[in-house]
Symmetry: C2
Subunit: 200 residues, 2 copies
């Protein structure tokens, strides 16, 4: 356990240091899972001070996204959903999943493929989703059973992404994205807001 | 193209013949996809008359299920859903997915895992789902956009199965199945019956 940056590597090139951190993060997340791959552990593997990891990549969710080249920052995504007008909430969630998170060229598809066949990748994804939904997103759900509500939304959307972009179901591939958003949005709204789900 | 059973193999043991047909079917579905693996092609590979394949295993959907040791006959599943009371429809669909099709020990999970990482397996699954939903199940949907409605239901349920039984999200794993069915059923009903989806 290094107590200060003095024990860390001091490369002259910040890009080299950043890449070393990203490489260490990707390996640590893959080997240890999302939970046990602490910023401290990742910094140790990269030979830098933990503060430098925070400085370059922010919180762990954001570092995870950078390490896997995800085309979004999780905190920004949650902020965007939290800022949606109530009547646009479901559509906004569906839009983000279909056009950003699970877009046909999204690296999230690689994570889904890996999780489908590899226990360590499944654990990493499970722990990341739990952190993102149960710890971060659940804060802005003003209803009982926030965790279940968010997992129903997440599992619905992962299924649409899987059917559309992994299996390639033509009905979904050929469908205009805005039409899909119109079809799915009210379901998301129901999961997030219907009082009937308070009593489960 | 053999014109009669006279050219086919005549093993003495029906169990041996059945197993040869199942092996030929599994290989043909995997190599050719679901569409191009005709009963005739499968019979040819097994060295039997196509009529014998029909006799032992029924229609192609049913042969596919037997070849992959699925714990259900697709036609029976559709009949069971078609026979549900309107007020139980969504819950019945959710129940079948959670307790039969995508139960934690269902061979469907292997098909999902394979489809996630292998193009041929994805095509096989895509063509089987299309045949099952667009050709068979769509017949009993008395609403416009039957194909889209069924694909939304199917993709939602595959997502719940993926999140629960493949990724292992604890919120969904630990949840009582009947509670999940109560939560998801009304969404299925909406996708299958809501007139708002007629106009997309």
């Amino acid at each position: 356990m290094s107590s200060s940056g003095r024990t860390g590597r001091r490369p002259g090139n910040p890009e080299v240091t950043k890449q070393a951190i990203l490489d260490a993060a990707r390996t640590a997340f893959g080997e240890l899972g999302y939970e046990r791959a602490t910023i401290r552990a990742i910094a140790g593997r990269a030979g830098v001070d933990p503060a430098l990891v925070h400085h370059y990549f922010g919180a762990k969710q954001s570092l995870f996204a950078s390490a896997h080249e995800l085309p979004f920052n999780p905190a920004d995504l949650i902020a965007r959903i939290a800022a949606a007008e109530p009547e646009d909430l479901g559509r906004e969630v569906a839009r983000l999943y279909l056009t950003v998170v699970g877009a046909p060229d999204s690296p999230v598809l690689s994570l889904i493929r890996a999780a489908a066949t590899n226990d360590a990748a499944a654990r990493m994804m499970r722990e990341f989703i739990e952190d993102l939904l149960l710890r971060s997103a659940a804060k802005w759900i003003d209803a009982a059973n926030a965790g279940l509500r968010l997992m129903l939304v997440g599992s619905h959307m992962i299924g649409v992404v899987f059917a559309r972009s992994v299996i390639g179901i033509p009905t979904l591939v050929d469908m205009d994205v805005e039409t899909l958003i119109e079809a799915i949005g009210p379901t998301i709204d129901r999961y997030l807001t219907d009082p009937a789900l308070d009593d489960l």
